[in-house]
Symmetry: C2
Subunit: 304 residues, 2 copies
């Protein structure tokens, strides 16, 4: 059983009402790999960095079972860098700097050892790049999870629809679901998206939780209300990684197990936001995650 995770590994500089960081390790695929690794290893990473990257972080990743054969390190080039500042409510942010650097010409290449992939995470990249990954696989994975964003809907909708048709789980936020379908009701949007190909749709609603839709099925996992959120960066990616890791660990893609996976992802994401960057993900234990999952279950538990 193997998870392959294709996406960005990067440097971030983040400012929130609670502080600011220098360049720290970020990138969607970083959060996804770390989160998935709590439930299943190996997670096989496909990404690209420059030789300016934090090599200690790579050692940490290897130690917890993340395989890096598919991680391209470009000599003399710089890693993808993003800098952003969150507003007071932490729900909105301004991007201050985006330097694509090595990401600009990134062509993911799957090593031979990755081609047994059963669970594939296609992180938020150009739809044509996501498609090229699917085309390198000799056999269709058991489950393909696709992340994307409004940017690709604006400039590459046709390509995006082709990739969506080939994925099993589409993971987007509420605004993106509305933009993709032109429908305001999330139920109507979900029905339309499920007709485009995916078996499941996950709509991420940030501090309001996540919705899971299957054919005639619906599940709502609220986010855990927290005393303090320090940095929301990577919460959605942590969610996706936790979700996929959990599914792979059970090797079960039923709706019932998807619900548990949504809770697993939500629990992990609720840790990520407690500190800056990946810091919290590097501290927590499997016991703490299980405890948090049980708290999520209790949060909504009522006997009628």
């Amino acid at each position: 059983m193997s998870i392959v995770n294709v996406g960005t590994v990067a440097f971030d500089a983040i400012e929130t009402p609670f502080g600011k960081t220098d360049k720290i390790v970020g990138g969607a695929a970083t959060y996804i790999s770390l989160a998935a690794s709590f439930f299943h290893s190996p997670v096989k990473l496909v990404s690209v960095i420059g030789d300016d990257f934090d090599m200690e972080m790579l050692d940490k990743m290897k130690k917890i079972g993340i395989e890096l054969e598919g991680l391209q390190i470009k000599k003399g080039e710089k890693s993808f860098f993003w800098s952003g500042k969150y507003h007071y409510d932490l729900n909105t942010r301004d991007t201050l700097v985006t330097e694509l650097n090595v990401l600009e010409h990134f062509k993911p290449v799957l090593p031979e050892s990755y081609k047994d992939c059963e669970y594939l995470m296609l992180g938020n990249l150009a739809p044509a790049v996501q498609m090229s990954v699917l085309d390198q696989l000799p056999k269709r994975p058991k489950l393909v999870v696709l992340d994307t964003m409004n940017f690709w809907m604006d400039i590459a909708m046709d390509d995006l629809k082709k990739v969506i048709a080939r994925c099993d789980v589409l993971s987007i936020n509420d605004e993106e679901a509305r933009q993709l379908t032109g429908m305001y009701s999330l139920v109507s949007a979900a029905n339309k998206i499920l007709q485009m190909g995916p078996r499941y749709l996950i709509i991420k609603k940030g501090e309001h939780g996540a919705l899971l839709f299957g054919e005639n099925e619906m599940f709502y996992a609220p986010a855990m209300p927290l005393e303090q959120v320090v940095d929301p960066t990577g919460a959605g990616d942590t969610f996706a990684g936790g979700l996929l890791g959990y599914i792979a660990s059970k090797d079960d893609i039923s709706f019932e197990n998807m619900k548990r996976a949504v809770i697993a992802g939500s629990a992990l994401a609720s840790f990520t936001v407690e500190k800056f960057g990946t810091q919290r993900l590097l501290e927590i234990s499997p016991e703490m995650i299980l405890g948090r999952m049980q708290k999520f279950q209790k949060l909504v538990q009522a006997d009628l």
Copy 2:
């Protein structure tokens, strides 16, 4: 066991992306009375209208067990009138017209037959008016539910804090909880509000559901994602009425029963928004409500 419900009975004219109405019956206390009546009667109404009001509606209310002895009918005067237009997303609206009319000098008077009140709903009125109701009761009710809004925080915060100190359940929305406490985190805001007097706090989050806080306890009831929302007017009031009616019907103010009451309120509110005004509340049956409550429970149900 009796419920006393003090608040506004009014005319509304509503425009949403799905249509518009002429003057129809509205007012928070109308929704609250209708909703509470599904679970418990009598509901004893305290409000004021002009003699222009829809007298057929009063007959309907009497028939379902709403007592109107405390409803003042001012001859030659006009009922409170509100007109509003909702934006595309239905989460925001513009007020087009507010004519206070009879409401301007409203002094609630509790008839003798209301003074056995055990469950009291203090609807959104000036805090001094809410206080005057509490002062008319010879004995403290078992439970006082208080609704208010940002307007009173702006102009009458001191009075408001005095009423809050005398209520058991404060029901406000997320922005109001933040304004009342100056805290962004809803958990922190809740802790602070519970120190101001109430035993429970309910934070209404509209389409994202409702949060219930007690001492060291928290419960999250998501709203039901719906295919079509036609008119959100009265959803929050329906929620509050369903909540109070449910609590009174069980005569149980434990946290466990409060959770069920939150689901009951959410279920009723999910009906209200399906049609304009009070129309849907006048159509549905107790069986439909129970069915919807079970749907709410299933929406979040997952076995870890």
